[in-house]
Point group: C2
Chain length 132, copies 2
C-alpha cells in the first residue's frame, strides 16, 4: 500500500523555499527566510528538514551542510544520491544516471556488509567556470 504523505505546515513552508531556490540552502539561511512566516527557532527548521529528507523530498549535500530539493523522481527515497559540485561557483546538481545508480546499488565488498544507502559527491569545475 502506498502511503500518501501530507506535509505539515512547517514542512510545506520549508520545502517550498528549498524548491524555489536554484541552489543548496543552508539551515540558517532557511531560518532567516521563514521568520516572517512565524518559524522562529533553528529546531523548527531542522525538524522539518529531517522529515523532508526521510520522505525523499530533499537531500542534504553532506560536504556543504546544505539542502537541495530532489529533482529526480526515481530517486529512491533518499537512499541513493549523486551530486556534482563545482568547487569554484558551488553550483550543485543532482545527477540521475541509471547505469551509475545500478552499479552502486549492486556494489558489495568482501566484508559482507549490506548497503542500504549511499551518497556520492563529485567535485570539479562546471562548464561556466571552466571558460573563465
Amino acid at each position: 500500500m502506498v502511503q500518501i504523505q501530507t506535509l505539515s505546515k512547517n514542512q510545506k513552508i520549508i520545502l517550498d523555499i528549498i524548491e524555489k531556490a536554484n541552489e543548496p540552502l543552508k539551515a540558517y539561511s532557511i531560518l532567516f527566510n521563514v521568520q516572517k512566516k512565524g518559524i522562529k527557532a533553528p529546531l523548527q527548521v531542522y525538524r522539518a528538514l529531517e522529515k523532508l529528507i526521510k520522505l525523499g523530498k530533499i537531500h542534504k549535500v553532506e560536504s556543504r551542510n546544505a539542502f537541495v530539493a530532489c529533482k529526480n523522481s526515481n530517486c529512491e527515497i533518499s537512499k541513493a544520491t549523486v551530486f556534482s559540485i563545482c568547487e569554484t561557483c558551488e553550483k550543485v546538481t543532482e545527477i540521475s544516471n541509471q547505469k551509475l545508480s545500478k552499479y552502486l546499488k549492486n556494489f558489495h565488498d568482501k566484508t559482507g556488509m549490506t548497503y542500504k544507502k549511499y551518497n556520492l559527491e563529485f567535485y570539479g569545475l562546471c562548464t561556466t567556470c571552466k571558460r573563465s
Copy 2:
C-alpha cells in the same frame, strides 16, 4: 619529481593520534587528546587537519564530521575516497576497490563538467551488527 613532505610538529602529533585510533575522530575529541601535548586551541587542530587532508594522510568522513587515517596507499592524495559506514555502530572502513575507483574516475555526465575528485559513502549494517 616526488616531493618529500616533512610534517610539522603539530601535524605529526595529530596524525599520530588519528592513525592510532581505530575509528574516525572528531576534531574536538582530537583537541581534548592533545591538550597535554600543548595544543590548546581548535584552530591548531583544524589547521593540522587541513594540511593532512591535502597531503592525503587523512580523509574527512563528510557525513560524520570526523577524520580517519588513509589506509589505502594507492589513494590519490585525497582525490578519491570511498567509505563504508555502519549506521548502527558507526564503524567506518575505507574501501579500496580498483574496479569501482576506475569506474568513478572515468565517470562523466552529459553536462561536460570535469571531475577532479569524488567522495562516496555507503551506509548500511556491518556483519557484526547484522547478527545482533
